[in-house]
């Protein structure tokens, strides 16, 4: 392992979190413009996090409550380690030389489950309802997501993300064009994963007062917000790798990930929230149907 790689390994979580938070900040700005107003500065989320870290008190309900956010960000950073970030002349692979899709799929859940455990110990019924909703929705969107991944894996006869990136050498070979069905199914799942508006049933402030994190405050919330930014970044990078042919340098990476980021954002601005079972069954209708068409096509 080269020293460069080790430096990236240490720096990447911070860079990823910063980019993710900046995206969320920009999304707040864009939302504000749609809503006829000015909006906060793009770096507002970073200020929020500094403020949360500098809170003087924080309550804890016990060990799991304390470990929940820590494990969540552990899961996210671990996921980041296995995602190929840049593939150009100066690649950033971290541990992703094996870059296995199934591993990624499962290790992404690690953080979510840890978060749910932490929220569970808070003993707040709102948190429990939120977790119940979140897991239900996860079961919903994982179906189109795995369909999309299986299409890719069968099509390229590999489960390595690196090989999939390599197969998308030109723009015309990007999976968004080569396997559009897979892309549509995956992007539907992406909406659910990002938790933007029609699918923000987990946090639904007007229903269950922000759900699982409702007991979290101060430094714990800061960690969770950092995790949120980083996780958004990880997911965006993964999708870029899978469908947009990866990225050769940081500028391409930022362009591609931001373009992907805009999709759930714009859908979210103008749509209200689903009810839980509606959200779950939504994923099992059109996205799954389209995915199944893709599956049949890939077998032929």
């Amino acid at each position: 392992m080269s020293p460069m790689n080790i430096i990236w390994m240490i720096a990447m979580p911070f860079i990823g979190a910063a980019i993710g938070l900046l995206y969320i900040g920009i999304s707040r700005n864009i939302t504000a413009r749609v809503q006829n107003r000015f909006g906060p500065p793009p770096y507002q989320n970073i200020i929020d996090i500094i403020k949360l870290y500098s809170k003087k008190t924080a309550i804890t309900h016990g060990v799991m409550f304390h470990l929940g956010p820590v494990l969540a960000i552990t899961g996210t950073i671990s996921t980041l380690m296995f995602v190929p970030i840049l593939t150009g002349n100066y690649p950033i692979y971290l541990f992703s030389f094996q870059g296995d899709l199934i591993l990624l799929m499962y290790i992404m859940v690690f953080g979510c489950l840890a978060m749910a455990l932490g929220a569970g110990q808070s003993g707040n019924p709102n948190s429990a309802i939120g977790v119940s909703r979140g897991l239900t929705q996860m079961f919903g969107y994982e179906v189109p997501f795995v369909i999309a991944l299986i299409i890719l894996m069968v099509r390229f006869d590999t489960s390595s993300v690196l090989d999939i990136i390599k197969a998308q050498d030109t723009v015309a070979h990007w999976n968004i064009f080569r396997s559009p069905f897979s892309f549509i199914a995956a992007i539907a799942a992406f909406l659910g994963m990002m938790g933007n508006k029609p699918f923000d049933i987990v946090f639904a402030p007007a229903e269950i007062s922000s759900g699982p994190p409702s007991e979290y405050g101060g430094k714990y919330l800061a960690l969770m917000q950092t995790n949120r930014g980083l996780f958004a970044f990880v997911k965006l990078v993964l999708y870029t790798d899978l469908f947009l042919g990866g990225a050769g340098d940081f500028i391409t990476l930022i362009l591609k990930t931001f373009a992907l980021f805009l999709i759930p954002l714009f859908i979210g601005i103008v749509n209200p929230r689903f009810r839980t079972e509606q959200a779950m069954t939504f994923f099992w209708k059109w996205p799954t149907a389209i995915g199944v068409v893709g599956l049949v096509l890939v077998l032929l």
Binding site: T31, V34, Q35, N36, P125, A204, A206, S209, P272, R273
Partner: protein
């Protein structure tokens, strides 16, 4: 606080008083199994300021600044009611121009209330763009109020015998302009909210009021008209100059949240229509029929019940005077009193947790007028 008797294992969930989904400051105590509400109980009284007690200690004229604070989103029906009740007991005539101005105020207030409701209704299901738009647009009307009365929210403009100030120069044009603007925005609102597929999916079939029971349950205003029952105080018992104005009574079949939303949506158009007529027909003349010196103002003994159609339904005042300087009793009947307690508890039974705030907004529950 008299809590519900706890059955052994039902989960208790408190919605409010500190909860983003609650309209104002009240509490709904829910007993859940899963996320289905088995029983619900409304707790009110968090906003009790004892207005009725305070008014017994005030001169008649001093009551006007108090009553408008009873209902915050739409204070004008309160002033209108108190003024008309006093006028009825005294037998005081109101100049016609003042009546037109009152109608103008009431209808503008109705539009502001509906815009506010639109924000609440969509905020309750997470569509935050809608409140940003509609409450922003509401400010144009508040600016008109400010120009006319000096206050954005509380106007203290309608008083016994007429209104306080005449319209400023060019005010009518500005009202017309704002009305044109709001009318043009309605298209956007339709696209964003009323025709949104997810809104339709969530709103239809939720919060159904039994049509047969609606009258008996005391349902009034848009929820009643959302059951397809055409009753409106403006038509049933026309006050001011409503009998000289041409407007439609909106009803919508369906009994659910969606039909209530559609009633309100169409009533905005009707209100704009009324306002335009008022502006056209408004005669010139005095705006106030002055009474005695407020400090020595004694209203003759007697009682009167007056009602006004507010944005949430029938708003009634029962005023009793014993011929002294101060009122004997002013009793306020807010529509939310029935909607927010008995009806809400009934509708929430068997509903989903996700729909509590949704149903509550569709009924237009407004705690300050429940507990006054």
């Amino acid at each position: 606080m008299a809590a519900l008797l706890t059955k052994e294992k039902e989960t208790t969930l408190y919605l409010g008083p500190q909860h983003p989904g609650i309209t104002g400051n009240m509490m709904v105590e829910l007993k859940l199994t899963g996320d289905t509400i088995q029983r619900a109980k409304t707790h009110v009284g968090y906003l009790h300021r004892a207005f009725e007690k305070l008014m017994e200690e005030r001169l008649w004229m001093q009551c006007f600044p108090i009553v408008c604070r009873i209902c915050v989103p739409e204070p004008d029906p309160n002033e209108e009611n108190l003024a008309r009740a006093i006028e009825e007991i005294e037998g005081r005539e109101v100049p016609e121009r003042a009546q037109y101005i009152r109608v103008l105020m009431l209808e503008l207030a109705r539009i502001t209330a509906y815009l506010m409701w639109m924000g609440g209704q969509s905020g309750s299901m997470g569509l935050y763009t809608m409140p940003q738009w509609s409450i922003g647009d509401r400010d144009y009307i508040l600016d008109l109020f400010e120009e006319l009365t000096g206050g954005r929210v509380y106007h203290m403009y309608i008083w016994a015998g007429g209104v306080r100030r005449d319209l400023p120069v060019g005010f009518k044009d500005r009202v017309r302009k704002v009305m044109d603007y709001i009318e043009s925005r309605l298209v956007d609102y339709d696209r964003l909210l009323f025709e949104n597929a997810i809104f339709l999916k969530r709103a239809q079939g939720i919060g159904i009021i039994d049509k047969e029971k609606a009258l008996e349950w005391g349902v009034v205003g848009p929820p009643l008209r959302g059951c397809g029952i055409a009753h409106d105080v403006r038509k049933d018992e026309p006050y001011e100059v409503y009998d000289q104005l041409d407007f439609e009574l909106i009803t919508h079949e369906g009994n659910d949240v969606y039909s209530r939303a559609m009633v309100r949506r169409k009533e905005i158009e009707q209100s704009i229509h009324i306002i335009r007529q008022v502006l056209d027909k408004m005669p010139s003349g005095p705006i106030h029929n002055p009474g005695p010196n407020p400090l020595k103002w004694k209203v003759p003994a007697g009682d009167a019940y007056v009602r006004t159609e507010s944005a949430r339904g029938e708003f009634g005042y029962y005023v009793v005077s014993d011929g002294s300087l101060k009122p004997r009793r002013v009793h306020v009947r807010g529509p939310a009193y029935v909607h927010g307690i008995a009806l809400l508890e009934h509708l929430l039974q068997g509903a989903n947790v996700a729909d509590v705030s949704f149903i509550m907004n569709s009924l237009g529950t407004c705690p300050p007028e429940i507990e006054r």
